[in-house]
Symmetry: C2
Subunit: 565 residues, 2 copies
């Protein structure tokens, strides 16, 4: 199973963050950050052989093993080291640090691969009976410990239930633009098959290549184009869910006033209320035309003005990405020498050369009046993608150009290049961890009213926790009528005990986010890492109600315990 | 309290369905439908004096009464006949028939008017302790028995909790286009206050003048402009709800991936899980421009093609109303002599004269080639309203005109007139009931795939149940990416026992809707009348989960029993 090859890092063995870009970033970092004792020329994969890893013992009884094999067949029940290892954690910073240890603390006793929803139900029913924990596993890309196999007590066996074989599109209803899809399907397989029928789901989280529909639903995911196509909760019409009581099914009505929308109880349920096996999805036609725009705006504030105007005017670019001045400078620094146009090339080249030294407050180059007014310390990069018919894109483009009139248009290529690297970015973390650098991200969302304070306070909290030399970048990727998301990327020198360092940072910063009206998460979910704040987020009465529902469905708390609830 | 004056019918005493239109409709009906013995010239209000009405006895103890008065004050606790009477039912056909009886079967023991959410919580907590049922009451316009005060056993007291005093906008956050609003506010008060700040909620159900925000939320309401502004569930950001355990509050994040969206559990909860007291709402700016369009399309099928194309092209007219040929003919028949334009006037006048006799298959009049191709038996009227900036409306208009190129444009006035009568239509039912005619409506929604069959089968079922001479009209008022709503209006001769007649019709037709992939309700809710099918609609496992949650929140089942669950 090739997805097991890179259990210690992101994605696929054949892919990596571009070497020259890695080098550029390394050059930007203070030299004392880089661990001298690490031989960074040796890839991490080679430094750690699977034979050297120690996993905890298997706690399942022979009877359990026999029973599970009877349900799914011998080949679909695995207790081998490699399969267990690559289902032992997700892709959080802490996961990847722990993957470097020889002794893995938590590992599933076995990994089971059901082939249909009946299997899933039988597995859960038996696990419920025998008090075995079940952790559903889609692509395993959780960055919050959502797939980490932990029971409620040390001797309780934990079974990881991989949905990898439930990977089929069962039906495409072209007339209603709907599809019935099993949740184990990976992003690219889903899109490819939908595309062949002229449709797209339009859901592209950064984990897209390695994450599954089920993972998106279980964590309320959003993708880079959700501004146009909607978040996953906007795309799910109905669900099938295996619970200890049987297989629950909702109806795919276009809308309904028949009581509570129970899909919304399972969207974001992270395996706590059952294992989602199938969904009806609302599709869109593949757009006739797709075009990137990008602008260098004179300030972050001007960028926010543009984004609010976009929502106010009901415009819906698919991709909206506004980088704060820090991220803008960082992106400029990483840009190669063939950007956009002749004129902006000079600008960007100059910017690259001056990074990370302080930029001259205002630069005067020879390409137009606008740039003269843009302070490079304030400049904010806005990337947009427009999708639709040729006419629609053309109309939208002219409206957006009007809104961005204070900015410098950088044309299409910045966006195209950004898209090219979008799925590669997560590979950078492996390279940096390997060299002793902490690189992680966190995200939140708030109303426009609280946006600025939340942005400034979170930025400050990251610096306070990680050190004033930490590099803290931020962008907005999702805009709503009432507010916008914030996505922070941060780099710092890793301490001797990077997990302690990270936990302190997470505690400090999350508390600041919560104190400043930020959501606990905009699109990553809760998992283990956000669980501590879920009472603050949901309030005690909602928590009590969710727990009462959990107790009814799963009285023994075997369904993905220690996550969410 | 002036809202009590018309306990026996719809709306306000000062309003009625236009007399000339009533007469036109009466002329259209088979004469044998009209009850000879009714003196229809005497308004119903005069035929039934409140003194003649008998209400059931009050079952509350003196201790209960004293306690409730202590909570809300003497003036806010009513046991007088008039207040009890006008909270004894909603506005369903069955309600209005029963209102004609001298003896009212179910009436609240008292009506309590809390002044703040703390009152609401205290009332519920005491009612929970003493096993007194609580029926929340907003505007009382439910057409499904949603506000009918019934306990779970005959001797159990029922308290109607009117939210009329919780009618304030607490905060408008212009920067984030949000408002915190108490749920007892009536539609016009809410809009007027929002309008004065430049905002609109854009929510206009036909009950708008007499229904409340809380009612809309508790039943997942949709209004005539929800195609553009969204249904109520799209507009609610957060909720405050009084439960026996305390006051639950969710956070108004623009979006979130922090577990299930618990707002969605309370949206449509119909009082079963607590009493909603407050909501944060997402607002829109008042549009610069609003323009009606209308088209006579050559067939219902062509109308459906247009609607699907509208969604496919992401166009969002606020009002979309496509009448089937039956409703189109009916509307033409009711139209006065000053419609649209000179040319269409002749057409419509001719149509009016020929109704209800069969139209000539094709009519040839002197206004353009298009009309020649429109068979009057197939013609379908499409009314649209466009909202936005002048530019947006103009662009949208030209796109929609292109989509409607097979139709005959009737200009603005048909839509303007329709809007004028929109809020008056429910008054017609009173007039007809008074004359022995059954007039009621029902609604559903389905995917495009099942639309035609559902439409035909429901139409047939209505005729089969009510008689082949019944008048059955249908329109679509809400379109979605995957389907559309169906709204049936039907008229028939009322039998001697109209309630039995109605129940048989409801049973027959609802079963046909359920068998043909229709939702149990698109925007009216569940209440008492749809409860019978809620297991079919939700499925047994969702019902079990909803009931488990109900049992946790409300173990004694005092919260609006016999509705929804």
């Amino acid at each position: 199973m090739n997805y097991c090859e890179k259990w210690w890092g992101w994605g696929d063995l054949s892919q990596s963050f571009p070497k020259d870009s890695t080098q550029k970033i390394l050059n930007l970092l203070p030299s004392q950050w880089l661990q001298k004792e690490v031989d960074a020329s040796i890839p991490l994969a080679i430094t750690k052989k699977i034979e050297e890893i120690e996993l905890p013992g298997i706690r399942l009884s022979n009877q359990d093993i026999t029973h599970f094999k009877e349900i799914v067949g011998e080949k679909n029940f695995c207790t081998d080291k490699k399969t267990r290892l690559c289902h032992s954690f997700g892709k959080s910073y802490v996961d990847l640090i722990q993957a470097r240890d020889k002794k893995i603390r938590f590992s599933p006793d076995a990994v089971i691969f059901p082939e249909d929803e009946r299997h899933v139900h039988e597995i859960i029913a038996y696990a419920h009976f025998q008090n075995i924990c079940v952790t559903p596993f889609g692509g395993g890309t959780s960055v919050l410990g959502g797939v980490n196999p932990q029971g409620t007590e040390p001797y309780q066996p934990v079974l990881t239930l991989s949905l990898r074989h439930l990977d089929k599109i069962l039906k495409i209803d072209a007339a209603s633009r709907m599809a019935d899809v099993q949740v184990g399907i990976l992003g690219p397989d889903l899109e490819k098959q939908l595309n062949s029928h002229g449709f797209t789901l339009g859901h592209f989280p950064q984990s897209f290549e390695f994450s599954t529909l089920g993972g998106w639903i279980a964590t309320r995911s959003a993708g880079h184009s959700s501004n146009h196509y909607g978040r996953i909760e906007d795309l799910v019409l109905s669900l099938k869910v295996a619970t200890p009581q049987g297989i629950l099914e909702t109806k795919p009505h276009p809308a309904s006033s028949c009581g509570p929308n129970w899909n919304e109880v399972y969207l974001g349920s992270e395996g706590s209320f059952g294992v989602i096996t199938q969904a009806s999805l609302s599709l869109s036609e593949i757009p006739e035309c797709k075009e990137y725009l990008s602008f260098l705006l004179p300030s972050y504030q001007e960028g926010l003005n543009v984004l609010r105007a976009i929502k106010k005017n009901y415009l819906s670019p698919s991709i909206v990405r506004l980088s704060d001045p820090h991220e803008t400078q960082f992106m400029i620094a990483l840009s190669d020498d063939q950007p956009c146009s002749k004129s902006s090339r000079a600008f960007l080249k100059n910017a690259w050369r001056s990074f990370p030294r302080t930029f001259p407050k205002n630069i005067y180059l020879s390409f137009g009046q606008k740039l003269k007014k843009i302070s490079q310390q304030q400049a904010s990069l806005l990337i947009l993608c427009l999708e639709g018919s040729i006419n629609e894109v053309s109309t939208l483009k002219s409206k957006i150009k009007t809104l961005c009139k204070k900015g410098l248009s950088l044309g299409k290529s910045v966006g195209i290049k950004w898209e090219k690297n979008y799925f590669l970015s997560p590979y950078l973390r492996d390279e940096l961890i390997h060299r002793g650098v902490l690189l992680d991200t966190l995200e939140t969302v708030t109303s426009w009213t609280y946006f600025e304070k939340l942005y400034l306070e979170t930025h400050k909290a990251l610096k306070n926790s990680l050190g004033q030399d930490a590099i803290v970048l931020c962008h907005i990727s999702h805009i709503y009528p009432t507010g916008a998301s914030l996505y922070f990327t941060f780099l710092a020198q890793a301490h001797d005990n990077p997990i302690t360092q990270w936990i302190r940072m997470k505690n400090d910063v999350t508390q600041v986010i919560m104190n400043n009206h930020g959501a606990l998460s905009h699109h990553h979910g809760v998992g283990q890492d956000h669980k501590k704040w879920i009472y603050d987020e949901k309030g005690p009465l909602v928590m009590d109600q969710m727990k009462a529902l959990k107790k009814f469905i799963d009285p023994k708390n075997i369904l993905n315990p220690n996550k969410l609830l």
